[in-house]
Point group: C2
DNA sequence: TTGTAAGCGTTATCAG
DNA sequence: CTGATAACGCTTACAA
């Protein structure tokens, strides 16, 4: 690898001049700059980022720590982080598979010197605390943390509100016996959604029964298997609010096999509003979660802290959710498929039609859906 | 941030000793080592990774460049890369949104000094060439590149074979007029799949007609809209092989709305075998693509090259695909939902039931499917 | 406008 | 076993 010294030698200038030529608008004559760049291009030189950040003590990189890197939700969050960061001149260093506090700490350490701070998705109590500890002199933003404000700024999702809204909607349709398929135990989102579900029932004068709360783990399979238990309940529920869309998919598949008509005999709702939700049969009523926006906010928050210097206020920011009514809940609403209206929010993705795989080709399809 | 010097001073030793204490098994007395670690822990010291890699000229990091970071497929590829790399003591530095050659080059440059090499997903011709140029003294592996061997080792997917297999399967069911919904123009996978589709028809004595090749862009919407054109064809196809699962989802949704029974009036197949494929109605016959394995192989290949020193052989490795027969193609095969059999291959994911979102909770559900 | 030289935080070499 | 000290590749005062 060519170094700055090689360029200096070949160009017949000092290394300082080469450095200046590469760092934009310092005091260098246009002629020398051009010459230096020519030589550099010829021998394939480009500044070593590690060395550079060692002297400047700025890496222009944000570390991103995730429990896992899987599925539509996470990729969407990362996309939000990536695009927002990039637009501000930052890169991101992603590291996943950090469920417990220990691996989280390890990962954070190994990022030392490589990042100016981190954004951590910490669904576990111990984890968020651990990060908070490490993060002295280290700007950190927590994403959807178990504990709202623990010395760290945080961004969360309005899980409770979303669940409350969708269940209330079912109640308005006249349903009284409404089951739910829960998410995995210990999962923040799952717990918040369950709280919202119960509260909505209670506020409508319906006594929530734990018998209506079927265990699940966010997988399609668990949704599929939950059908058996739901159909066995007496009285049989007329509606099921699944804690996420994947489980709703599995559930609907099983109900269909059992000959249950939806929504007439059983209304079903999901949570997350994944891309295929509108193409299910019947199209799935669900709660839209703006994963991209979550990532975007995290970065903006991080940048604000970074620029202001301090690790600052620890106020918790909450990203709202949106009820999306389609046909699976039985509410009258025929329109489909949904047109992609121009929407506020994230910048549209570029060059997607050219992208290589089974991913969607443009963001409008993903991000612009009819909301209610 | 505490440095090695702070620790040395407080521990009453030289910085060399501190360094040794942190670098495992050098010659340091257990007592000093313990002491040093105690002091370090007390003041929150941990070696600066950038500085370290500057002297060692090894970063133990692999850069990953993607055209985009979106959808099930990419996250699965990255997961394969991440887990494999981690198991070998490497981290990954992900950078996405690199559709064209220019941003790809920029990204590669900005990784200089931060990574020991890169894995690039380069669906575009210019892009892969550009990377090959840059990658002197730089170990690079191309993922699913447009051009197989251009001086760089590469890993690809057996798109052609997969498409050939699924179409042949349809032909065996007696179908003669088989349409396809294509992927975006210029997309490697899409083009290879189209080739396989045509070849299968031809080999069965059926003349492929471009009228049967409906444009699409891998999105659910495009699949949805393709239905209109398919139903207008005369003679009307009795089967459609969509270039990916998402389009199959959209297509099936539209066909159902049009009152077409599947598979009786119209057989439908997809490509990719996304998680929900088996929960569609009818369950989708498709081609399984081992995205995780793709990432895993890329890393193994990279490591092999890294250890052997050279940028080495440029032989193209190809990851096979698997036909997965379910009910949407009309072939007799009732069983469902599919049990998760123990499978060869990737290590199972850990701690997923605890993971925070709508992603699946365990890999068996994802990775172990019935194959035929 | 350009050059010299002192760091940035480590590791590695070579003495002790 | 431990301690100086010279790199690593770069930026940035300070001088010229």
């Amino acid at each position: 690898m060519a170094t700055i010294r090689d360029v200096a030698r070949l160009a017949g200038v000092s290394i300082a001049t080469v450095s200046r030529a590469f760092n934009g608008s310092s005091r260098v004559s246009d002629e020398t700059r051009r010459h230096v760049h020519d030589v550099a291009a010829r021998i394939g030189y480009w500044p070593n980022t590690a060395a550079r950040s060692l002297t400047t003590s700025r890496t222009l990189t944000i570390g991103v720590l995730l429990p896992d890197l899987y599925g539509e939700f996470f990729s969407e969050v990362i996309r939000g982080i990536d695009q927002t960061a990039r637009a501000e001149g930052y890169q991101i260093l992603v590291s996943s598979s950090h469920a417990d506090a220990e691996t989280l700490v390890t990962a954070t350490r190994s990022m030392r010197g490589l990042v100016d701070g981190i954004i951590v998705m910490a669904p576990h109590e111990g984890a968020s605390r651990a990060v908070t500890q490490i993060s002295e002199n280290f700007i950190a933003v927590l994403l959807n943390p178990r504990v709202a404000a623990e010395g760290c700024p945080s961004i969360s999702i309005a899980n409770y509100d979303g669940a409350y809204a969708v269940v209330t909607h079912l109640l308005k349709q006249g349903h009284r016996v409404i089951a739910t398929v829960k998410g995995p135990a210990g999962n923040v989102d799952a717990e918040e959604r369950l709280r919202g579900y119960r509260a909505a029932l209670r506020d409508a004068g319906v006594d929530p029964s734990t018998r209506w709360e079927i265990p699940g783990d966010f997988t399609e399979s668990s949704g599929h298997w939950s059908a058996r238990q739901i159909l066995r309940l007496n009285p049989r529920p007329t509606a099921v609010a699944a804690a996420n869309d994947y489980m709703a998919v599995g559930l609907m598949s099983a109900l269909r096999d059992a000959g249950i008509r939806m929504p007439e005999e059983m209304a079903v709702t999901g949570f997350d509003d994944i891309a295929i939700a509108q193409f299910l049969s019947p199209p799935l009523t669900t709660v839209h979660v703006d994963a991209y926006g979550l990532g975007e906010r995290a970065v903006r928050r991080w940048l604000a802290l970074s620029r202001s210097g301090e690790n600052g206020t620890q106020a918790g920011d909450i990203v709202p959710t949106q009820l999306v009514v389609r046909r699976s809940c039985g509410a009258p609403r025929p329109q489909e498929p949904e047109a992609p209206p121009a929407e506020e929010g994230a910048p549209s993705r570029t060059a997607h039609a050219q992208t290589s795989r089974g991913e969607r080709a443009d963001s409008d399809v993903r991000r612009g859906r009819n909301r209610m």
